[in-house]
Amino acid sequence: MTRRMNPFRAAFVIGRRDYGATVLSKTFLFFLLGPLFPILLGVLFGSIGASVASQAEVTRIAVVASPAELERLQRARAELAAVPDLRELPELRGAALGSDAAALLRDKERPVSAVLSDPFGTPRLTGALGAGDPLAGRVQLLLARANGSAAPLPALAITSVRSTAGSVETARSITARGGQALLFLLTLLLAGMLLSQLIEEKSNKVIEVLAAAVPVESIFLGKLFAMLCVSLTGIFVWASAGVLAVSLLLPAGSLAALPAPAVGWPLFALLGAAYFAMSYLLIGAAFLGIGAQASTVREVQTLSMPVTMAQVGLFALASFAVGEHGGGAVAAALFPLSSPFAMIARAALDEAILPHLAALAWQALWVSLILKLAAAWFRRSVLNGPGEKSRWWRRAPRETSAA
C-alpha cells in the first residue's frame, strides 16, 4: 500500500514529468535558440523606450537668480520651445539668490541635473557635465535668447562635479527601464508556453488519469513550476553565453560603467530573479487557466495574440513606475500582474527594501489565488462538463452522451 500524497508532492510528480519531457526533447535546442528573436524585439522596444524616455525625462536645472531674471529666462525658453527641434530644453527651477550650488545638487527632494548661477552677469553652470555636454549648449542658447540679439553673448563657465541628485536619478531611471524591459522580454518569451500546457493531456486523454489521482490545483502547480524551471534553465544557458560573450567582446571594466541601481547590483540581481519568478508565475498561472479551456492547438494559437497584447498593456502600465511617484506608479505596483515590472523599476530608483518584501508576499498571494481560480474554472467547465467539446465561450447545453 502507498501513502496518501500531499498536494505539493503530487505537484512535484507532475512537474518532474513535464520538466523532463520538455528539457530532454529535441525541440528544447530550438527553444534555447529562441532569444535571437526577442533580442531583435528588445532592440526595437529599447529604441521606443528610449524615445519615450527622452520625451518623458526632461532635464531640470536650478537657476540662482532674481525672480525678474528667472522670468526673462522662462520667457526665452517658452519662445524657443515652440521650435519643433528645440523641445529638449531644460526645465528651469528657481532658487533663491545666494543659494549654494553644491547644496542644490545634493537635494534629493527636488533633484536637478545642474545649477545656473548669475545668468546675466557672469553665468556659471555647475553639474555632472562631461566635455561637450549638450546641456551646456542648450543653456547657452537660452541665455543668448534671453539677452536679446543685440547684446553680446555671455561666456558660460562650466564647473563639473562628479554626480548630482538629478544625474543619479537619470542614470537610475535608465537602469529601471532596462530592468523592466529585460523582465518583460523574458516573461513575454517564456510565459506563453503555458497557454498550451494542458493541450497534450487533453488530446491524449491523460487528464482523466491525472484528475482521478491528484487535485487539479496540484496539476496546475506542477505544470507552472515545471515551466518556470524550464525557463530558468534556458535563462541560465543564455546568461552564461552572455557573460562569455561580454568577457570576450568587451574590454575589461566596461560593465562597471553601467549606472548602479539604488539597492546596489547584488540585491538588484536577486530582486530581478525573484520578480522574474513572480512575473512568470503570475502571468503563467493566468495563461495556464486560459489555455486549459482550449482543446486544440488552433484554439491556443487564436488566444496567443490577445494574450501577447495584454502583456504589452501590462508593460505599459508598469512603465508608470519609472520617473513617477503618483497614483499611476502605486496602481502599477498594486495591480498583481504588473507589480513585478513596477517593483523592479522601484528597486533601481529607491533604496528601500521593505516594500519589496511586501510586494513579493503580495504577488505570491496572487499566484495562489489565480491558480486556485484557474483550477476551479477548469474543474467547472472542462472536467465537470459532459465531454471534451465543452468550451468556456460556448456555454449552451449540448446533447452528448453522459456515459
Partner: protein, 316 residues
C-alpha cells in the same frame, strides 16, 4: 485536516448521487454499496450514466446531490493512493517508455518512482512483455498500450480498482487475460468495480451488479437475484396439437415451430404438469430453464427506459 477512514464492510458506498450537464440529467439518484473484496459490475447501455457515476465516485467530478464514500472517505481523492483507475478513454504520454508510463502512474498514487520502475519491469517480464520495457508508447499497438495502462493502474497495489469499459478494444484472447487478472485481484482481496455494456463479462465475473438505465439504478444486488427477477422459462413440445391442456398455458405463451415457450406460472411446475397430464397433452419434451443475466438485463433496463420515455425524459 485528513479525514480518518471509517472501517466499513463496503469499499464504495453512494447514496442518491445526481448529476446534470446543462438541462440534461445524466445521473439521477444513484445509490450503490460495493462489498469489500468483491467484483462489482456496473451494467448499462451506452449513455446510461455509468461513466458519470464512476467519475463521481472517484472525485473527478462532484455530484450535484448525494453522498459517496470511497474506502471510508467522503473525499475520494484522500483515498487516491489506494485506488487504481482505468478510464474509458485510455490515455498515456506517447513519448514515455512502457516502464516510465507505469512508474509515472504509480508515482501519481504515491509510489516512489524507483520502486515503480522496478515493479514495472517485473510486471512486464511476468507477462512475457519484457521487450516492451524501453519502447515508447507511440510505437506500441493499441492493445499493447492498453495493457501498459492497466499495469499502471495496478502498479501501486491498490485496494480498489475501478475499470471503465475495460474490455472494449481488446481481442478475445486479451479479454480472457483481463478476466483472469480481475479474478486474481479479487482473490488477493482487492475490490474491483468495472462498467460494461457486455453482459457476458459481468455474468462470468461479478458477484454483484448494478443495472443502470436512464441515469437511475434499476437493479442492484447479486447476479442470482437479478436472474430471479424473471420467472424460469418453460419449453414444451406435445404430441396433441390441441385439447383441454391448452387452458393450462399462460395467455402469453408463444409457439415457435412445434415448441411452446412461456414463463413458468407463479404456482410452480407441479400444477402445470398435473394440468398438462389431465388435459391429455401427450408431453414429448418439457424443460424448465433458468433465465440468463442477459434476459434479466433486457427486462430490467428495458422497463426502466420505457418508464423514462413515459415521463417524457431521455430514455438513454
Amino acid at each position: 485536516m485528513l479525514q480518518q477512514a471509517r472501517p466499513s464492510a463496503f469499499a464504495v458506498e453512494a447514496h442518491d448521487l445526481a448529476k446534470s450537464f446543462g438541462s440534461k440529467r445524466a445521473v439521477d439518484g444513484v445509490s450503490l454499496a460495493v462489498p469489500t473484496g468483491s467484483i462489482f459490475g456496473l451494467l448499462g447501455p451506452n449513455g446510461a450514466g455509468k461513466t458519470t457515476t464512476l467519475r463521481m465516485l472517484l472525485g473527478i467530478i462532484d455530484p450535484d446531490r448525494g453522498e459517496r464514500q470511497l474506502l471510508g472517505r467522503a473525499r475520494p481523492l484522500e483515498a487516491a493512493s489506494e485506488v487504481g483507475y482505468l478510464p474509458e478513454e485510455r490515455g498515456l504520454y506517447p513519448a514515455m517508455t512502457a516502464r516510465e508510463a507505469i512508474a509515472f502512474m504509480g508515482a501519481l498514487r504515491g509510489l516512489p518512482l524507483s520502486e515503480g520502475r522496478r515493479r514495472a519491469e517485473a510486471m512486464l517480464e511476468e507477462r512475457g512483455l519484457g521487450d516492451w520495457t524501453h519502447k515508447p508508447i507511440r510505437t506500441l499497438s493499441k492493445g499493447m498500450a492498453q495493457t501498459v495502462q492497466l499495469l499502471g493502474t495496478l502498479v501501486h497495489g491498490p485496494r480498489l480498482i475501478v475499470l471503465d469499459e475495460p474490455f472494449s478494444g481488446l481481442d478475445a484472447i486479451n479479454q480472457e487475460k483481463l478476466e483472469a487478472l480481475i479474478r486474481a485481484q479479487a482473490e488477493a482481496g482487492v475490490t474491483v468495480i468495472f462498467s460494461t455494456h457486455v453482459i457476458a463479462h459481468a455474468e462470468r465475473l461479478c458477484e454483484r451488479i448494478a443495472i443502470v438505465a436512464g441515469g437511475k439504478v434499476a437493479f442492484e444486488g447479486a447476479v442470482d437475484a437479478a436472474r430471479d427477477r424473471l420467472r424460469p422459462m418453460v419449453r414444451l413440445r406435445t404430441r396433441a396439437a390441441d385439447g383441454p391442456w391448452r387452458s393450462a398455458l399462460p395467455q402469453d405463451a408463444r409457439l415457435a415451430g412445434r415448441e411452446w415457450r412461456f414463463e413458468l406460472p407463479p404456482s410452480g411446475p407441479e400444477p402445470l404438469l398435473r394440468a398438462l397430464l389431465a388435459g391429455e397433452a401427450g408431453i414429448e419434451t418439457l424443460s424448465i430453464e433458468r433465465p440468463g443475466l442477459h434476459d434479466a438485463f433486457v427486462a430490467i433496463a428495458g422497463a426502466a427506459a420505457a418508464e423514462a420515455m413515459g415521463r417524457g425524459g431521455d430514455p438513454q
